[in-house]
Symmetry: C2
Subunit: 362 residues, 2 copies
């Protein structure tokens, strides 16, 4: 059999509105279609460039019809067989499971890695080393996840608790359990043990093995995904799709498989962020000598005695005076002013706008 790396496919689920980044991120233009790092490239483009050294052109994007055209604009090299268009959003198990079934149908020995389209990674060589190790382990039939080395006691992520090292592996450990987003106290306790890492939703596994693991507890789900990959005349694709359970891959496969001792974790210390809110966004932007961090053209921002984050996105000048830890997001049709401390609650504003009938802004 060929080298595992030559059978490795990157699956990129591209969904989620990123409500907490409104008004930058919108239902019609979600997070992955924006340049949120100041790199000049959208997050989905950066995601593809990041996996290309490992996967070459073996890339499969899973997204909704609404975003297909924007993604093709972003990724012009993507062929028609490299994009799966979901009829409706049915959570991550359906998205990644469908991709797994399609890849299995093309090559029974395919290995897949799933990578969200809207995450940020700083150290690409370290990322590649971790994924390469995960691919070799996945080829032995294990479900391999990447556990991000925590840099602070985050309460916004789930955690992966590791156990003993994997014999013969470079860095991998056995997974004891996945745990939900903790309280601040729990998170601090997790970090103190050294056993807990952030769950970034990266899974590396043989495509067929993922479906077999799913079949252990959800046999119809797995069978339906395999039917979708080998659709025949008379099959009603949309009806099968709409019947799929809405469940995250973590609950459907990763957690039960961990209970069965089937999951390994490769520690990842490559500067990962899911840019979950504006505080998180500010943290990945360069810090100026003084004044706020700027996503966009710093020449458009004039600040006196001010700190925080400014995104001058409408071409207008932004002037700040005496505001600390402020968040100012300026777009063509909407302006947000909040603080770093309240940035996680932006969803409440989005809800308020929806109640007022301002769906044009969402």
């Amino acid at each position: 059999m060929s080298e595992p790396l030559s059978r490795f496919h990157a699956v990129i689920p591209a969904g989620g509105a990123g409500t907490r980044l409104w008004p930058l991120s919108r239902a019609g233009a979600p997070k992955f279609l924006h340049d949120l790092t100041g790199s000049g490239r959208t997050l989905i483009r950066e995601t593809v460039e990041r996996v290309e050294p490992l996967a070459g052109d073996r890339i499969l994007v899973v997204t909704g019809a609404r975003h297909a055209e924007a993604i093709r604009d972003q990724l012009p090299a993507l062929g028609p067989d490299q994009m799966l268009i979901e009829p409706s959003p049915r959570d991550s198990m359906a998205a990644i499971g469908w991709a797994a079934a399609v890849l299995e149908a093309r090559d029974p020995d395919a290995i897949l890695g799933s990578f969200a389209a809207d995450h940020v990674i700083q150290d690409r060589p370290a990322f590649e080393r971790s994924i390469a190790e995960a691919i070799d382990l996945a080829d032995t039939g294990r479900l391999v996840t990447i556990g991000i080395t925590p840099t602070y006691p985050a309460t916004g992520f789930g955690y992966i608790q590791s156990g003993r090292p994997v014999a013969g592996a470079r860095t991998a450990l056995h997974v004891r359990q996945f745990v939900e987003k903790p309280s601040a106290t729990q998170a601090a306790a997790y970090l103190a043990t050294g056993e807990f890492r952030w769950n970034a939703g990266m899974f590396v596994v043989r495509a067929g093995r993922l479906l077999d693991l799913l079949a252990l507890r959800h046999p119809h789900f797995a069978a339906d995904l395999r039917r979708l990959a080998r659709i025949r005349p008379g099959d009603d694709f949309a009806a099968i799709w709409d019947g799929l359970p809405k469940i995250a891959i973590d609950h459907a496969v990763a957690e039960p498989a961990a209970d069965d001792g089937e999951v390994l974790v490769v520690p990842g210390a490559f500067g990962w962020d899911d840019i979950g809110d504006f505080t998180s966004l500010a943290a990945i932007l360069p810090a100026p000598a003084s004044g706020p961090r700027v996503l966009g053209d710093p020449a458009q921002v004039t600040a006196i005695d001010s700190t925080g984050l400014v995104a001058p996105g409408s071409g207008r000048a932004v002037a700040l005076l005496g505001v600390q830890d402020i968040v100012v997001i300026d777009t063509e049709d909407a302006l947000l002013v909040t603080t770093a401390a309240r940035a996680q609650e932006v969803k409440a504003l989005v809800d308020a706008l929806r109640e007022r009938g301002r769906t044009d802004l969402l």
Copy 2:
């Protein structure tokens, strides 16, 4: 001689960029050309409407060439002999003194009242009563000022200290002295005496008498103003104008005349404001049940746990989350975010923008 009121002319100096209201107020579109009260009318239009019950069409606007056209747009009924265009700004003594000389030349018994184009007055009947009293007193040859009853120990205004009542007058008092803007401690002490009122720059006086008072200490200045009003072939208007001292009417005439016991004050308790900064602007806007005060369309503002002032001036939606005493001024080409506490320092931002070469925004 005819009734004093029939000889009363309202002089409206329209100048000053209102830098502390940037970006609402600009050098090219100063305060008086804006609707800052939500009334639907610009401040200069409101000023004219306020004096019309007293002056009828005896209104004289003094302004710079730069604003003449905008003022004509605002005041289409204004005839060519109702506007004096200054070749260059030379402070209030030159502006009001020139108007006095022009009115004196037209009618030696003319009485003038000077009213800034960018102030706000709430109670028009009370204003009219005060000015009517001032006109009658002015006709006897006194310089009459209006002293605004202070509502808080302001440090941003000069004060007028009154002495004994004027015999036979309804409310007027003799003026002991004009004093400069005080410290907070001084201001509190002033209010405690009950003798101090705000100097709003309103003077009512016979036109000829104003020039005679000026001539006591500045004879050339007074003579030059009178020459400007009777310009002859061969006179170089601009050269005379450019030679006038740059001095405020307070220093040139009011303070020395007060020392000579020649000034009276009519107390004014009619809700006056010069809208000197955004805190002052916010105070004259209606207070909503919750959320910030809005200058503009409240439907464009969505706020959660926020207070302060929002001016949605670009047509875009403004969303606030968890910001207290915030000031958000949204215009077509510039956005300001500051706090009520720092609102008086907006000039520093304007200076910073000028240093950066952004004169397009000033």
